[in-house]
């Protein structure tokens, strides 16, 4: 396994180095390596097709009709999952400073509390499946951490989340002059008495998955729960109407659902 990775990485590096020199040669197109990446190398893709351990990539539109699960070879022999280095019972007590830093970092990615966070990296030719690969359960790699989706899966991720500039335009000055100041997030929930569980100081709309920020190995530094082994959050923490900030969704009288006769 390790050797394969090394071979693969050196291949990538080799391609990158060649790409670099090719790239600085005058007048040669630099198409981001999208087509010229080693990933679409014919030998590799053939090897991939023959390797039962690999799952073929499908387009977003085919996801719903493609069975996805353990590969044949995986199903064939039961094996233990590699144990994570996350210990549920490690004592977590974020300091006030850590909480504040965490809140600041969070705020830096939104125009106002309630706005969908921006994507802090460029997005190119990417489908929802690509977003989902890292952001569904959270991926940690090379010291970086991909945030977990706090809401159920919705298609067309970039509909709501604005990315960074596309790669060819990253040097363009995109600053704007505005006096808009967004609503800040409330800092903490209220406790009925000392020792009581605090209320949830934010709306739960689009934030149904508490663990996305507050728990598990992918929680936000400074926002983690002190008791991640407890899973039914709203058992003890009540939503707060005053801190929810969101408008009330009073029901507007609408027509009854259509009574459609299918021929």
């Amino acid at each position: 396994m390790n050797r394969l990775t090394t071979v693969f990485l050196s291949l990538v590096i080799a391609v990158a180095v060649i790409g670099y020199f090719v790239g600085i040669g005058d007048g040669v197109p630099q198409p981001d390596g999208f087509y010229e990446s080693s990933l679409v190398d014919r030998d590799l893709s053939q090897a991939a097709a023959n390797d039962v351990k690999l799952i073929p990539a499908v387009s977003y539109s085919e996801i719903s009709s493609t069975p996805m699960g353990p590969t044949k070879s995986w199903q064939a022999k039961p094996q233990a999952l590699p144990g994570g280095d996350y210990d549920l019972y490690t004592k977590i007590e974020p300091s006030e400073a850590e909480k504040e830093a965490s809140g600041k970092l969070r705020a830096s990615r939104r125009s106002f509390n309630g706005a969908p966070p921006i994507i802090p990296h460029p997005v190119e030719n990417t489908t929802d499946a690509a977003c989902y690969a890292c952001h569904s359960n959270g991926v940690q790699m090379a010291g970086l951490k991909a945030s977990v989706m706090s809401h159920k899966f919705l298609g067309n991720c970039v509909q709501c989340h604005a990315p960074m500039a596309p790669v060819p335009f990253q040097d363009v000055d995109a600053s704007v002059e505005t006096s808009f100041v967004g609503l800040p997030a409330p800092t903490q929930g209220k406790r009925a008495f000392q020792g009581a569980p605090p209320t949830i100081p934010h709306s739960q709309w689009m934030r149904e998955n508490c663990n996305a920020c507050h728990g598990g190995p992918n929680g936000w530094a400074g926002l983690e729960s002190t008791h991640p082994w407890r899973t039914n959050c709203t058992q003890c923490h009540a939503p707060s109407a005053t801190l929810d900030q969101m408008p009330e969704a009073e029901i507007v009288p609408m027509l009854p659902p259509l009574d459609v006769v299918r021929r």
């Binding site: 007048g27 040669v28 197109p29 630099q30 198409p31 981001d32 999208f34 087509y35 977003y60 539109s61 719903s64 830093a101 970092l105 830096s108 125009s111 106002f112 309630g114 706005a115 969908p116 921006i118 802090p120 990296h121 010291g143 970086l144 951490k145 945030s147 919705l154 298609g155 970039v158 509909q159 604005a162 960074m164 500039a165 596309p166 790669v167 060819p168 335009f169 363009v172 995109a174 600053s175 704007v176 002059e177 505005t178 006096s179 808009f180 100041v181 967004g182 609503l183 800040p184 530094a221 801190l243 900030q245 969101m246 408008p247 009330e248 507007v252 009288p253 027509l255 259509l258 459609v260």
Partner: protein, 809 residues
């Protein structure tokens, strides 16, 4: 210079952030936004109120969070049927559009080439005087972003007060072909279906349309059904790959103008295979074509045999040759339409409308749905989408077009003029019978020297930016500059390409800085209230129109008096005393919007586009017309027009009734049109197809969205999308700035090879949002002969390396 204290603070924060990442498992890189504002909102006293989004024609409802007189947050409105609590990147950040640092806050007059601040009284007087001196050479260029009361006030002022029909909107550039397509087919404008079709359909066909970026909320309404396990097939017919293509099951790449033969080919196959909906066609349809004498909106009746005879030549092989779509793919499309057990919704927007055969291709796609019977059942709908928030409400319904009167009336018909004069209580004969100039003609006449017959001398532009959006700008806009006797008045919120040539700039209030009513793509009329004050001396557009009208009234201009000698916009209080709404201080003493809306409502019944009273819209998240009063006094909206099960105006017992049929027999028209090639085709000199359009992050000319940081950062510049092979052949690199030029003009743009959209070899795409890179200097002004809508989607251009251009010149 940045002050040193803040710098020190930033430095220590930067170091702390880096150190914290060294110490712990840290998160992804971020861009830190330091706001540096003392008086921060804190959530105390936050209040929410509903409004439709300011941007596109989808008509999402947002909740606007206001604190201390400023908009501080936006949320999707969970009670809104259109968007069900979701929004798109533009919608979530719509609150920021009010707060760009360069908002216009004072009237500005150009004196000796320099803009000088003046007072409102002087500004209104200047405008009134120019109109008084030459009322017939005055024109208003309006907008599908006008609220309904704004458009209605301008309409009444021009056609009822001045007897001048030179009023046309930017929607002429945007959905005029959709209007003529609906009129030609059903005898009355606007879609029969609504967004509920998207929840019911089995197949969505996008005709030259990219809703994943342009109508994302509607698009994800379909793709989210898939995520829930429902089976929806998406077929994308287009001239380039887009984000919509990414989600499509089938992508059919056509040549520019290929949509016309594709529609003809589908109809040909349905007839040849005998699997069209015979009973629907026999009961509800007629056939139609242009007479030999020339093209017209309603054409002439032809027999079914004649239709069969004419369409026979559009065999799959011939269609393949014209459109580039293979015989097999065309048969696949025809088989879909031949299947009565599935529900098919067609979506289109600018691809079919900005087209020299715009009216034709619109009627043809309606024809495909009618011939196959895929019409009028939930999920079976030909639906045209609009790009502006009130293109439907203000332009199509209020009729702010050069030939129209409110409520589907036209100036050419004496009885329509008479009705309008009665509703307006103006003297008989006040309304002029001759249609005014349509947009292209209007600007042509404005930018032509008066001595050469340019008979528009004063133009008032409200809520739009023609200096960026008109086609062929060098011909239609830029050459205004040296003409001293021409006077351009622009009501705007920010400096734009249009204000650059303006002689008088009037600072306008926008969106929730004023009351308003919009009408979206699915016939939904949406109301909102003013929530915050406009900055400085910015004022409502409706007020500007009324103030100008009242100044003329004071000057003794006869047209500004009604039959009883009163001011045509007079509003009285309960005691019968006139409220001086022409003074801005008194403008909000009453709800002027409500008065105008109630007056306008009288016009809406003739074409069965009945609206409810203003107060009903206050309670609802919009209502889809026709809205009719029920026996219990409640108001009921209509989702499916012409369908017996839902439309209250369909005769009892009828399954379908096209009650405004142009053939007066309750039937819709299935049109035949001959294919015509595009007006300009690439050749040796200009070898590339140029298509223009929009991107997700920016709305139209970007005057609003380019002032929103998250959006501008995500898409900081206009660009030209190019195929890699074309770039390689021309020795062009990723990001290199090149010159895109045509016979009409040129524009410098950075290249994005295989960018977000991917054009095929031999074609390029340029978005038009960037005011520093005006691609409309390059486009052409050829337009559809019926709708007068220009074709921005295809012309011949070439891409030249900057270095090469220097050597040449």
């Amino acid at each position: 210079m940045m002050d040193s204290k803040r710098r020190t603070f930033l430095k220590s924060t930067a170091m702390a952030a880096a150190s914290s990442m060294v110490a712990s498992n840290a998160s992804l890189p971020v861009v830190y936004a330091d706001q540096g504002v003392a008086d921060l909102p804190d959530g105390d006293g936050l209040s929410w109120n509903k409004a439709p989004c300011r941007f596109c024609g989808t008509g999402c409802h947002v909740q606007v969070g206001v604190e201390d007189g400023r908009v501080v947050a936006i949320a999707g409105d969970k009670a809104a049927d259109v968007n069900k609590g979701l929004l798109c990147v533009k919608g979530y950040h719509v609150g920021g559009i009010l707060y760009g640092k360069d908002r216009l806050t004072k009237p500005l007059l150009r004196k000796d080439g320099k803009l000088t601040e003046i007072e409102w009284d002087e500004a209104i007087e200047i405008v009134a005087k120019r109109i008084y001196d030459s009322p017939e050479t005055f024109a208003i260029y309006g907008s599908g972003q006008w609220t309904i009361p704004e458009g209605y006030a301008a309409q009444k002022f021009m056609k009822g007060g001045l007897g001048n029909n030179h009023i046309d909107p930017n929607a002429r550039l945007c959905m005029a072909s959709a209007v003529t397509g609906f009129l030609g087919t059903y005898g009355v404008d606007e879609p029969a279906g609504c967004y509920d079709d998207l929840d019911e359909c089995d197949v969505v066909i996008t005709w030259g349309n990219n809703p994943a970026e342009m109508h994302p909320v509607l698009f994800s309404r379909v793709t989210d059904r898939r995520s829930r396990g429902e089976n929806v097939r998406l077929i994308d017919i287009g001239t380039r790959r887009t984000r919509t293509t990414d989600a499509a099951n089938v992508y059919l790449e056509m040549k520019p103008h290929g949509d016309v033969p594709i529609a003809l080919g589908i109809m040909h196959l349905l007839i040849e295979n005998g699997n069209y909906d015979r009973s629907f066609v026999e009961q509800h349809c007629n056939f139609r074509a242009h007479p030999e004498s020339g093209k017209s909106l309603f054409g002439e009746a032809i027999s079914e045999d004649e239709f069969r005879k004419r369409i026979a030549k559009y065999t799959p092989e011939h269609v393949e040759e014209l459109s580039g779509i293979s015989v097999d793919d065309l048969r696949m499309l025809a088989d879909l339409f031949a299947n009565p057990d599935i529900r098919i919704t067609s979506l289109w927007c600018m691809g079919m409308n900005q087209h020299t055969m715009g009216t034709a291709v619109n009627t043809l796609v309606h024809g495909v749905h009618l011939l196959s019977g895929h019409f009028g059942k939930p999920g079976d709908a030909p639906t045209s989408l609009t790009g502006q928030p009130s293109a439907c409400g203000t332009v199509r319904e209020v009729g702010t077009l050069a030939h129209a009167l409110p409520g589907g009336r036209i100036v050419a018909k004496p009885e329509h003029r008479k009705q309008s004069e009665e509703f307006w209580n103006v003297r008989e004969g006040s309304v002029n019978a001759v249609p005014g100039y349509h947009t292209v003609k209007m600007f042509d006449q404005f930018t032509k020297p008066t001595s050469d017959g340019g008979d528009i001398t004063t133009m008032f532009v409200q809520v739009t930016n023609p200096g960026q959006t008109l086609p062929n700008l060098n011909k239609l806009f830029n050459d205004k500059e040296p003409l001293d006797d021409k006077f351009l008045i622009v009501s705007e919120v920010y400096p734009t390409a249009t204000t650059e040539l303006a002689d008088l700039i009037l600072p306008a209030a926008m969106w929730v800085e004023k009351n308003g009513v919009y009408g979206n793509s699915e016939r939904r009329t949406q109301q909102w209230f003013k929530m915050v004050d406009p900055p400085g001396e910015a004022r409502d557009d409706t007020w500007m129109t009324i103030a100008i009208a009242h100044k003329l009234f004071e000057m003794g201009y006869e047209g500004m008096k009604d039959k009883d000698g009163e001011f045509i916009f007079a509003v009285k209080d309960d005691a019968g005393k006139e409220i001086p709404i022409w003074n801005f201080d008194n403008y909000y003493d009453t709800n002027v919007d409500k008065h105008l809306f109630e007056e306008y409502r009288q016009f809406t019944t003739m074409k069965h586009k009945n609206l409810a009273p203003y107060d009903e819209y206050v309670k609802a998240r919009g209502l889809r017309w026709p809205v009719v009063e029920q026996e219990d006094g409640s108001w009921r909206e209509t989702r499916f027009r012409f369908s017996g099960f839902d439309d209250p105006f369909v005769a009892e017992g009828e399954e379908f009734d096209f009650y405004h049929s142009s053939s007066k027999d309750g039937r819709a028209q299935i049109w035949f049109h001959e294919y015509e090639p595009p007006p300009e085709i690439p050749d040796d000199e200009y070898p590339m197809w140029l298509c223009t359009g929009r991107v997700l992050e920016h709305w139209h000319t970007g005057t609003m969205t380019r002032r929103l940081e998250p959006l501008n950062r995500a898409m900081p510049t206009g660009y030209v999308e190019m195929h890699m092979e074309d770039a390689r052949a021309a020795n062009i690199r990723q990001g290199e700035v090149v010159i895109v030029e045509s016979r009409r003009g040129s524009c410098e743009l950075p290249v994005w090879i295989d960018g977000r959209g991917r054009p095929p070899r031999g074609s390029i795409f340029v978005p038009f949002f960037d005011e520093t890179k005006l691609i409309n200097d390059v486009t052409l002004d050829e337009h559809c002969p019926i709708s007068k809508q220009p074709d921005y989607k295809k012309c011949a251009a070439r891409v030249v390396k900057k270095a090469a251009a220097k050597v040449k010149s």
